[in-house]
């Protein structure tokens, strides 16, 4: 099947799946909403709430999946996920700081704002650490990401300890760290949507470059790619989408790792096909994971990060298998 046909078929199938998943999310939940009453004004507040949540799930799922795909291609590493360059711990630190300092009382925008600021700072720090002259070599990036993640995590643990000592806030921090799609207003969803949508649009212009980069930066340069410029743009886009996703919904893990691999398993490594399909598949995945998070326990909501983590373990076994099999001779 040619790449173009794969793309068209994939988009058709996944768009249908996404629509089904969306309506499923409207109907599913602890409170019973009969299908016939879906648009009834009586149930409107509940259905609107679920719709916002599902919409956020689509946006965050798409953003994280494509961000992970980009990093796997540019870093030429199948284990890369959107958080590998320090975004996650920076954002976590920002959010934890906001929660534990009590600044939360200023309004609901404080936590997402602080998280996004933390993410941006972390990315800038990683970039500054990794720069070698005018280039940003892949291995220094990975190293810098590890360092920033480690430092921010230790700060986070320190903050968590303070929270335990003061006897408050720890639960909220933990919840944020595990991710939640709960949203009560439309504006955080819209903000995330703009960031992720913009990022996706830009990425669509770079799908061929993503393919070419996979054979190496020097060969790619010989094929006419402006490698450093392309890398910078792609990292920026990936970080923007990840930062927006994390700010809106906390740290939802494994989406950026699992979805690209799963889609690749079905349609192959061509990024021209992968980028749109990963976006759609990420959306479907997260919406359904949220359905599970909202309905599997009798009274509580599970943090959605628990669901995705549950799938992460077996997934790593799969990755190990393929890595062993298909490695270069």
């Amino acid at each position: 099947m040619s790449a173009r046909r794969k793309l068209v078929t994939g988009v058709a199938v996944l768009s249908a799946a996404l629509t089904v998943a969306f309506f499923w999310a409207l109907v599913a939940g602890r409170a019973h909403v009969p299908l016939s009453k879906l648009f009834h004004p009586d149930y409107a507040p509940l259905v609107t709430l679920r719709a916002c949540r599902a919409l956020l799930g689509i946006i965050v799922g798409a953003g994280l999946a494509v961000a992970g795909l980009i990093l796997q291609a540019v870093l030429r590493n199948p284990l890369a996920d959107p958080y590998v360059l320090g975004v996650s711990s920076g954002a976590g630190l920002g959010a934890a700081g906001a929660i534990l300092s009590g600044l939360v009382v200023l309004g609901t925008w404080v936590i997402p704002g602080a998280a996004f600021a933390g993410a941006v700072l972390a990315i800038l720090l990683v970039y500054a650490l990794a720069r070698v002259g005018k280039t940003v070599p892949v291995y220094t990036l990975l190293l810098a990401g590890v360092i920033v993640n480690a430092v921010a995590s230790s700060l986070l643990i320190f903050l968590a300890h303070t929270a335990i000592a003061r006897g408050r806030g720890l639960y909220s921090v933990m919840w944020w760290l595990l991710g939640s799609l709960q949203v009560l207003e439309l504006w955080p969803v819209m903000a995330a949507g703009v960031a992720v949508g913009g990022g996706l649009l830009v990425t669509l212009f770079f799908t061929r470059d993503l393919n070419v980069l996979s054979i190496g930066e020097e060969p790619a340069a010989h094929l006419g790619l402006r490698v450093e410029r392309t890398k910078k743009i792609l990292f920026l886009v990936s970080s923007l989408m990840t930062g927006a996703a994390v700010a809106a919904s906390g740290l939802i893990g494994f989406v950026g790792l699992i979805v690209p691999h799963a889609v690749r398993l079905v349609v192959g490594p061509d990024n021209r096909v992968l980028v749109p399909l990963c976006a759609l598949a990420g959306g479907v995945f997260l919406v359904i994971a949220d359905i599970i998070a909202r309905t599997i326990l009798p009274t509580g909501d599970l943090p959605i990060g628990v669901i995705t983590a549950f799938l992460g373990g077996p997934f790593f076994i799969y990755l190990l298998r393929t890595h062993r099999r298909g490695g270069p001779k």
């Binding site: 470059d209 094929l223 398993l265 393929t322």
Partner: protein, 264 residues
């Protein structure tokens, strides 16, 4: 018009420059071999020609145009480069592309960001795979190929670029003798019949002597010899450049100079 003109270039990777004041002209249709000890700047010279590294001084002209002023895509339409096996990644696990897809990447300089391949592109890819004799491996992931097959796949990728100038960076170093000859025969054919200019970095003096029309000897980033194999490959020159004692005599098969080892 010369395919490549290197005018007095100085370049390196930060720190000390690797090439200093180096000049060489490569006429169209030439088959030039670049030889020299490790660190003499052979690969650096190739990178300077394609413009992948910047020049501290001097100019490089491709078909008359300054490389620094050309867009990368434009350069890629004129010059194709086949790198050493270790410089190219084959992808890991499910990130590996098929031979056909990899060869297809050779068409990158001709495709827009959002366009799909045309029939012309597909035909160029098929032709390239035929030439490099990898057409039968078209749907295999590159990671599953042997070393020789993988090198041929990347050669096909370079051929798909449909360039008049082809640069080779030790393309046969890790291959067995049959593969070495096969690949060099291919480029010899492209040079003789197709009129392509071929510039190849060689490690093996005898292979260079057999296939190249001219040889450029480098030492310490400067030209140490330029001319036909007969002129350049003499025992004294080789001893002076490499520090190894050898005997040079004509090959009984082709008459080209052949280097014999003089063990002490």
């Amino acid at each position: 018009m010369n395919a490549i003109e290197v005018r007095d270039i100085t370049c390196g990777y930060g720190g000390e420059p690797v090439l200093r004041g180096l000049s060489v002209d490569v006429p169209s249709g030439d088959f030039l071999g670049i030889l020299g000890p490790n660190g003499s700047g052979k690969t650096t010279l190739l990178r300077a020609v394609t413009g992948v590294i910047g020049l501290d001084a001097g100019r490089v002209l491709l078909n008359g145009a300054d490389v620094a002023s050309l867009a990368r895509r434009e350069v890629a339409r004129q010059v194709a480069c086949v790198l050493q096996e270790s410089a190219v990644s084959a992808g890991v696990g499910d990130l590996a592309f098929t031979v056909c897809e990899v060869v297809g990447m050779g068409r990158t300089p001709y495709l827009s960001r959002t366009g799909w391949e045309t029939r012309h592109d597909r035909e160029a890819v098929d032709r390239a795979m035929e030439l490099a004799e990898v057409a039968h491996l078209s749907d295999r992931p590159v990671t599953e190929l042997s070393g020789g097959e993988r090198q041929r796949a990347f050669i096909a990728m370079a051929l798909a670029q449909e360039c008049d100038i082809i640069l080779l960076d030790e393309p046969t170093s890790h291959l067995d003798i049959a593969h070495q000859m096969g690949i060099l025969d291919l480029f010899a054919g492209l040079n003789a019949d197709g009129g392509k200019t071929v510039v190849g970095v060689f490690h093996d003096l005898n292979l260079a002597a057999e296939y190249c029309g001219r040889i450029l000897l480098l030492k310490d980033g400067q030209v140490a010899g330029l001319g036909t194999p007969d002129d350049v490959l003499t025992a004294e020159t080789i001893e002076g450049i490499y520090g190894a004692s050898v005997e040079v005599g004509p090959s009984p098969v082709t008459g080209r100079p052949h280097v014999f080892l003089k063990k002490s």
